[in-house]
């Protein structure tokens, strides 16, 4: 029996048993459904083995939305627990697990795949390419992320969730103070999906540098491509630091090394430093592509070219460099001395300058524009004031002396939600709505979309503004309850109401998808938003090969200038198109990674060694494989193009 005991959840509750049943039933339902509708072959051929960047993007998108709800349930539970003083809805341990998984899920498994979804779907189309540089690697990146996410998500029903915070500081995360396997899940699940992110970074940089359409110089790239390019450069330089930090943490927990321990020379603060040397650039990995989406949307719906293109690019380059020079502001109170704190204070405040430049550029883009308030534009308009508010509180936190007051309070929690929700989440929802017709060939309902945007904004303000006040009054973060005499009760109740309004907003997104699938018109043009860049120059939805003839570009707004100045985008005859073959290897290899991760988490050495051999067997097979892809003949292209045009 002892062998099985370690798989048991250390702090079981009715909610967890109910989740186990729900997970079991869902899996049975999926398997039964696929079998009944005979969809296994379709699933395997069209999705599990696909190397098409558009489909990989859609899979990223679906995963991100599922994880949004997973993390959202955690959030609602936290707000419910704190809505009243001395609430007993959750115990301290359960609360610790929930705030840990909420943070990890939202950053690593919701925000990251959401931006990868946008990058995958948009970048090759925006630069006039037929796929990314390494399509098979792209599939592997996705499946590694997906398996990492699944591994992390089974933690709460098998062995227990991590409970040391999403930052997982040592010595709390060490073996002595975190005895369950939860922190092993943290270390290994993030490692697996992190390898995927790193490979996406390499893939996207190569794609953007080498596969742009003829005529598209670097300074003629659309702004989303520019912002993603810079975000991917940050990925390539920041993620290896996380790889090492997690590897050292894993070794401390599994093999008894002394990196972050208290005695034998270990240094717990080293973890905090390594974590944030990755962690702060990570913030910019998330926000820069979001800025890119806002740039596209604001320019499109103001019917003007983007104001200050060059200063936009310059400010992003400066942000990317400075993002590596601010990490110590996450622990001003940990005693590294006045000089160090001062330096990091100044760099942190300085990074607000290039960000401010971008805000003014968006405002000036709208100035005297013919603004059309669509759902994506509404998100962008709400973003500017809300995000600026978060930026200003960020500068408050940057002052290291004052930070002794704010540190570890709800003020900080309010600040980073204030930048991440209007910054990243609104951008992704704007991008989702904006690019939906590109992915699926119909538009989301505008009326429901605008309701969602307003509900999310009002819910956001109600949920997080009270935290600024309770935080300044001294309510500590990560505390599972507080006494009535503190007076935090009413404001926390307001937060709870705000959280519920946000939840309704997120449910409306799902309803909008359902409603639009049923009722939206399929009869839309290739360019329903009257947009400006190349992704709207091909059909909706996009054919497998993206562009029948590769476009030739003369300006940064190629499609707009084709429409207004009569530039000719597509010249020449159809030629045979070379496309990569599908492959099941990335999917199967990632399953082996899942088994490997699970075995390491529970120190099951024999399955771990077998799965490592399995991984190397796949790599060996890949080395010897000769796969030259396939060709799409001119006749097939003609047929597809005729059909696509006829459908208009």
């Amino acid at each position: 029996m002892e062998f099985f005991e370690r798989f048991a959840v250390p702090h079981p509750s009715i909610a967890i048993y109910a989740s186990m049943v729900a997970i079991g039933l869902t899996m049975v339902a999926i398997v039964a459904g696929l079998t009944y509708f005979k969809k296994w072959g379709y699933l395997w051929r069209e999705w599990l083995t696909t190397v098409d960047h558009k489909r990989i993007g859609i899979m990223y998108l679906i995963s991100a939305l599922i994880m949004l709800f997973r993390g959202g349930v955690d959030a609602i539970m936290m707000r419910a627990q704190l809505s009243a003083p001395e609430n007993t809805l959750l115990d301290a341990q359960h609360y610790n697990e929930i705030f840990t998984t909420h943070g990890v899920v939202m950053i690593i498994f919701m925000a990251m795949p959401f931006i990868f979804a946008m990058m995958n779907i948009v970048i090759p189309l925006q630069i006039g390419a037929r796929d990314v540089a390494f399509p098979r690697l792209n599939a592997l990146s996705f499946w590694l992320f997906f398996m990492g996410a699944m591994l992390f998500n089974i933690s709460f029903v098998v062995g227990g969730s991590p409970d040391a915070g999403w930052t997982s500081y040592f010595p709390l995360a060490g073996n002595e103070l975190s005895t369950s396997v939860g922190t092993n899940y943290y270390m290994i699940a993030i490692q697996i999906s992190g390898i995927g992110s790193l490979m996406t970074g390499i893939n996207m940089i190569t794609t953007i540098l080498k596969m742009r359409a003829p005529g598209m110089t670097l300074m003629k790239m659309p702004m989303f491509t520019w912002s993603s390019f810079i975000a991917n450069v940050i990925i390539v330089f920041a993620f290896p630091v996380l790889t090492i930090a997690l590897a050292l943490g894993t070794m401390d927990r599994l093999f008894g090394t002394q990196f972050f321990t208290i005695d034998n020379g270990g240094m717990d603060m080293l973890w905090a430093n390594l974590f944030w040397v990755w962690g702060h650039p990570e913030v910019y990995i998330l926000i820069l592509p979001a800025f890119g989406i806002y740039s596209e949307v604001i320019s499109t719906f103001s019917r003007k070219n983007l104001y200050g293109y060059k200063s936009m690019v310059a400010s992003m380059v400066i942000i990317s460099l400075m993002s590596f020079l601010v990490w110590a502001h996450h622990f001003f109170t940990m005693g590294q001395g006045a000089l160090t704190n001062s330096i990091f204070s100044i760099t942190t405040m300085a990074i607000a300058v290039p960000t401010g430049v971008k805000i003014f550029n968006w405002l000036l883009t709208m100035y005297k524009g013919k603004i059309e308030i669509t759902t994506p534009m509404l998100y962008s308009l709400l973003f500017i004031p809300l995000f600026t508010l978060g930026g200003v509180t960020g500068v408050m936190l940057a002052m290291s002396a004052a930070d002794y007051q704010y540190h570890n309070t709800m003020f900080l929690v309010a600040h980073f939600h204030n930048v991440i929700i209007p910054g990243v989440v609104f951008a992704m929802l704007a991008g989702l709505t904006y690019y939906w017709p590109k992915m699926f060939g119909f538009m989301l309902n505008e009326r429901i979309g605008k309701w969602t945007a307003w509900l999310l904004s009002i819910g956001f303000l109600l949920a997080f503004m009270p935290m600024y006040i309770t935080g300044l009054d001294g309510q500590a973060r990560r505390m599972y309850t507080y006494s009535e005499s503190t007076g935090f009760g009413p404001l926390n109740m307001v937060s709870f109401v705000g959280a519920i309004i946000m939840a309704i907003g997120f449910v409306l997104i799902v309803y909008n998808v359902y409603y639009s699938v049923r009722y939206a018109s399929r009869d839309i043009s290739a360019d329903p938003w009257d947009a400006r860049t190349l992704e709207w120059a091909t059909h909706n939805p996009v054919p497998e090969y993206n562009f029948a003839v590769l476009p030739e570009v003369k300006s940064s707004e190629a499609l707009w200038d084709a429409k207004k100045k009569g530039h000719v985008l597509f010249k020449g005859e159809y030629e045979e198109i070379h496309m990569p073959n599908n492959s099941g290897a990335p999917f199967i290899m990632s399953i082996i990674f899942f088994v490997l991760g699970f075995s390491l988490i529970f120190s099951l050495w024999i399955p771990a060694i077998i799965s490592i051999i399995g991984v190397f067997a796949f790599m060996t097979h890949r080395s010897f494989e000769q796969d030259h892809g396939h060709h799409i003949s001119v006749k097939e292209i003609e047929e597809t193009e005729t059909k696509m045009r006829g459908a208009k």
Binding site: I202, F255, F259, G265, M267
Partner: protein, 198 residues
């Protein structure tokens, strides 16, 4: 597939160019990976707890052998790529095999060195210093081990398929990897061993 004959074989197709650039970017990530290990090493190298210090366990002889073997292998793989550019398949394979043998010799000395450390009471669990020392050396050693298998597969492919744009591309990328491991070793030699023995 369009082949551009004005360029060396390894650059001759579009995909080949992508592969080489992609691998350079991967090497950028690898530099960050080892830089993080070095930074951690410099943070922890005098935190020896109850364990031995670097000066007590480092020995110059095996380290010099390792250095000579690895540096020579970097030279021979350069000759291999030169032979490849001249289209001399046999010479290229010979130089690649010599490279891999030198790498194997390096690995042998490293394993011996690890056994000595553990024997002298400097195991991976002893202190923060020994943990990071063995992890840094081990990460480099694991890269060399992976390289041995990878190089072997490439030699087999060149033998079987001849010098094609694909095999030339793989060989060239492998040579980049191998030179990179040599660069990392130079840093390990200078900043871990020499600095530790001073």
């Amino acid at each position: 597939m369009k082949i551009d004959h004005s360029l060396p074989l390894e650059y001759s197709t579009e995909q080949n160019k992508l592969n080489i650039l992609g691998f350079w970017i991967f090497l950028g990530a690898e530099i960050m990976l080892f830089a993080t290990l070095f930074a951690t090493y410099f943070t922890l190298y005098n935190r020896t707890g109850n364990g031995p210090t670097g000066a007590e366990i480092f020995e110059i002889t095996p380290v010099l052998f390792e250095t000579f073997l690895l540096l020579t292998s970097s030279f021979t793989i350069g000759l291999g790529i030169h032979a490849m550019r001249l289209g001399r398949q046999k010479a290229m394979i010979s130089f690649f095999v010599i490279t891999l043998l030198l790498g194997l010799g390096f690995l042998g000395f490293e394993v011996f060195e690890f056994f000595t450390y553990v024997h002298e009471g400097a195991g991976i669990q002893t202190s923060a210093f020994t943990s990071i020392l063995l992890t840094t050396l081990g990460t480099h050693g694991a890269h060399v081990t992976l390289g041995l298998f990878w190089g072997l597969f490439i030699v087999l492919q060149v033998r079987k398929r001849g010098l094609t744009p694909q095999t030339a591309n793989k060989s060239f990328i492998f040579s980049l990897y191998w030179h990179f491991l040599d660069v990392v070793w130079i840093f390990i030699f200078s900043f871990i061993y020499l600095k530790g023995m001073m």
